[in-house]
């Protein structure tokens, strides 16, 4: 029972990370129908900047703020400069551009900070089965997700963003600045991605640190439904806890295969994820 609790708590902490990064993928997917493979790299750059700031000033929260700010700026710039010109061309063009960006950014941080690992701190005391830091990470993800949902559902700007994503032509007729809304979507997504990066990276930072996290985040988003933020959050936590059980009870070498198995089962029953709608289908 003790072990079960340990594994559950461990899974919840990992799940928070998958949920957050998955959420950032979903926001972008909703806004521009692009799966952003550069998302982990954007988060990586943000975290390396935080590392540099923290090392120079010793102020973790300043570093955290820099990471979030950098995320917003990078997200907006990437959408404007790289994605918008190719987005209408084809689904593949956008995927390839984000893949290219992933390579460039990973190489770039390697050039500046080398491929060797650096220590990277937790926000709070990490000791304990469910430490202050775990509580902070899970809480932060839940609060961020709730705030975003409120933004989308309740506020006028959220409505405009949704309208721009689903019916850009109609939105434009109604006077919504569609382009601005899409940029805003990317900025928001990269903001959430930076949060995911900050809680996922500790204790060690190196250029490939978020690769595995990204695969599970995408898995979580696909399980939950790529256009459904709540589904993705649930998917992230379910995946985190499920994989923790697999690792603990069946063996760590089975984790990636278990993720595949979960995905196959879910998609066999629901091709658009557990909570996805068929709007995702673009024939």
């Amino acid at each position: 029972m003790d072990r079960f609790l340990d594994l559950t708590l461990n899974g919840i902490s990992s799940g928070a990370v998958y949920a957050a990064l998955g959420l950032s993928l979903v926001i972008i997917y909703r806004a521009t129908r692009v799966v952003n493979f550069a998302q982990p790299a954007l988060a990586l750059v943000a975290v390396y900047l935080a590392y540099a700031v923290n090392k120079a000033t010793g102020n973790y929260w300043l570093a955290f703020a820099v990471a979030l700010g950098a995320g917003v700026v990078m997200g907006a710039v990437v959408e404007r400069v790289l994605i918008r010109p190719v987005q209408r061309k084809s689904e593949l063009s956008a995927i390839i551009v984000t893949l290219g960006l992933l390579l460039v950014l990973q190489a770039l941080v390697g050039m500046i900070w080398s491929n060797e690992p650096h220590a990277f701190p937790y926000a709070f005391d990490f000791r304990g089965r469910f430490s202050t830091n775990d509580a902070f990470a899970v809480g932060l993800v839940v609060v961020t997700a709730s705030a975003l949902l409120l933004l989308f559902k309740v506020t006028p700007i959220g409505l405009k963003m949704r309208a721009s994503a689903f019916r850009p032509d109609v939105a434009r007729l109604l006077g919504v600045r569609v382009g601005l809304m899409l940029t805003l979507g990317w900025a928001l997504a990269a903001f959430v991605g930076s949060i995911a990066g900050m809680i996922a990276t500790a204790p060690f930072l190196y250029p490939n640190v978020l690769d595995g996290v990204f695969v599970y985040a995408l898995t979580a988003a696909v399980i939950g439904g790529l256009d459904n933020p709540i589904g993705t959050i649930i998917g992230g936590f379910v995946l985190g806890v499920g994989l923790s059980y697999v690792s603990g009870y069946l063996g760590p070498e089975l984790v990636t295969m278990a993720a595949l198995a979960i995905l196959v089962v879910v998609l066999a029953v629901r091709p658009n994820g557990l909570f996805g709608t068929t709007i995702a289908r673009r024939v």
């Binding site: 491929n115 690992p117 650096h118 990490f126 089965r129 060690f204 250029p207 760590p252």
Partner: protein, 442 residues
């Protein structure tokens, strides 16, 4: 569609005729084309230089921890070249990035041999990678020296006459760890935390000879998965009081931090590949410093037991450590002085010794003979096993304890053993100092 299938069958039949020379897995049926090793006996050698090559993971997931080995080696070669080289030849060291991808390893090693025409491969890194080129190098007659891996397969002079190991193999090291634990922690519960490949498997073969009955839990990790929470919590609930870690530095550090997270404080015993005090303390104390007052980095490191065969940076008084530090300060002052760097430096220096022994009239066979001559007493704390019948690198290790600042105190003087079931005994023989070896006057 159907017609094209019929055509395919016809064409496949054609291939059959061409390639129907017996089974793909059978040996000896193949045609010629193998160059006689005599023709290439002096490949890569000129009057003033000798070209050598290596494969290292410089990028990708395996790069953290390993990408600095070749940097250390390069510094030593620069030092040697600046002092005139070995027997009048400067060493031209080519490093190829294989990203720890075995397919890439085969490609870059063939590039080094066929295109760069290297004289030897020195310190090729990794078991999954190097095991794919060992047959090729031996068939082509290319010296394959000082492999950077503790697997057992490098020591097979009959099948692989050109290949020599370097590190102490994982089984020997496991025996020395096992004996130390049995002698000092007899009756206590032991847990294993191991890398899910030959590192863990071979180490277990050694550990089991001494502490099989004490071992209560074995937990493997996969390098692709940095979440080791489930494994450490299993070790904790098994009640293990001693945890042996057959793992690389990053996972040793993860294990230490995860145990601290779970409030679990066993005695850690870390094998040489992971017990790099500079890297560990670099990661842990830097981590602690950044984490503010919540964590005491010294406490995390303090009391960890490790095994080693090279003079580490934690042994500042060792003449070889001072010697390497001097080279470091001159050639690569910007790099952190870690055991990883020293690993590359010691390896380069050992190769240079063999090159010197081989003489001015250099051939591939001569350098292999020099390796097997038994006259190489490298910078290590332990004698090499090199002889006509053994190509095994360092034959044992010493046991040390780290204090909170990463300084090493020797707990048990150098021990040697074999890879089978032989006894663990104290190492004998005189260790040479840098002044005695004095490869170059510089």
């Amino acid at each position: 569609m159907r017609r094209s299938i019929r055509l395919g069958t016809v064409l496949a039949a054609g291939t059959l005729v061409l390639a129907a020379c017996g089974g793909a897995g059978e040996t000896g049926g193949g045609g010629g084309g193998k160059p006689a090793s005599g023709a290439n006996a002096t490949a890569g050698v000129t009057d003033t230089s000798v070209v050598i090559g290596t494969h290292q993971p410089l990028t990708g997931p395996a790069a953290p921890g390993y990408s600095k080995i070749s940097v250390g080696a390069k510094a030593v070669y620069s030092y040697i070249n600046d002092a005139g080289g070995i027997n009048g030849r400067k060493i031209d060291y080519r490093v190829e990035d294989d990203g720890y991808n075995p397919a890439k390893t085969v490609e870059v090693v063939k590039k080094l041999v066929l295109q760069d025409k290297v004289f030897a491969i020195v310190g090729g890194l990794g078991t999954p990678t190097h095991s794919k080129v060992i047959d090729y190098l031996n068939t082509e007659g290319v010296p394959d020296l000082l492999v950077s891996s503790g697997a057992l397969m490098w020591d097979d002079p009959v099948k692989h006459p050109m290949t020599f190991g370097f590190q102490v193999d994982y089984t020997r090291e496991g025996k020395i760890q096992g004996k130390y634990i049995k002698d000092n922690f007899g009756g206590k519960k032991v847990g294993d935390f191991f890398q899910n490949d030959d590192v863990g498997r071979d180490a277990q073969a050694g550990l089991d000879q001494f502490i099989k009955d004490q071992t209560v839990s074995r937990q493997g990790y996969d390098t692709a998965n940095t979440d080791v929470g489930p494994q450490i919590s299993a070790l904790k609930s098994s009640g293990a009081e001693v945890v042996v870690c057959s793992c690389i530095p990053a996972f040793a550090a993860l294990m230490i931090l995860t145990a601290a997270k779970l409030g679990y404080h066993p005695q850690f015993v870390i094998s040489s590949i992971g017990a790099d005090p500079a890297t560990l303390s670099g990661l842990l104390t830097q981590f602690a410093k950044q984490a503010g007052s919540t964590v005491d980095g010294n406490a995390l490191l303090n009391g960890i037991i490790g095994t080693g065969y090279l003079p580490g940076v934690g042994m500042a008084d060792d003449p070889w450590t001072t010697f390497f530090k001097k080279i470091h300060d001159k050639y690569i002052p910007g790099e952190a002085f870690t055991d990883t760097l020293v690993f590359g430096m010691a390896q380069a220096y050992t190769f240079a010794q063999a090159l010197k022994l081989a003489g001015r009239d250099l051939t591939r066979q001569k350098v292999v003979d020099a390796m097997a001559s038994g006259q190489i007493a490298g910078p290590g704390l332990i004698p090499f096993g090199f002889s006509k019948d053994s190509h095994s690198g360092y034959t044992g290790a010493l046991v040390f304890k780290l204090d909170g600042k990463g300084k090493e105190t020797v707990l048990r003087q150098p021990q040697v053993t074999d890879r089978g079931t032989g006894a663990v005994t104290a190492a004998t023989g005189q260790r040479q100092t840098p002044d005695q070896v004095a490869l170059v006057s510089g």
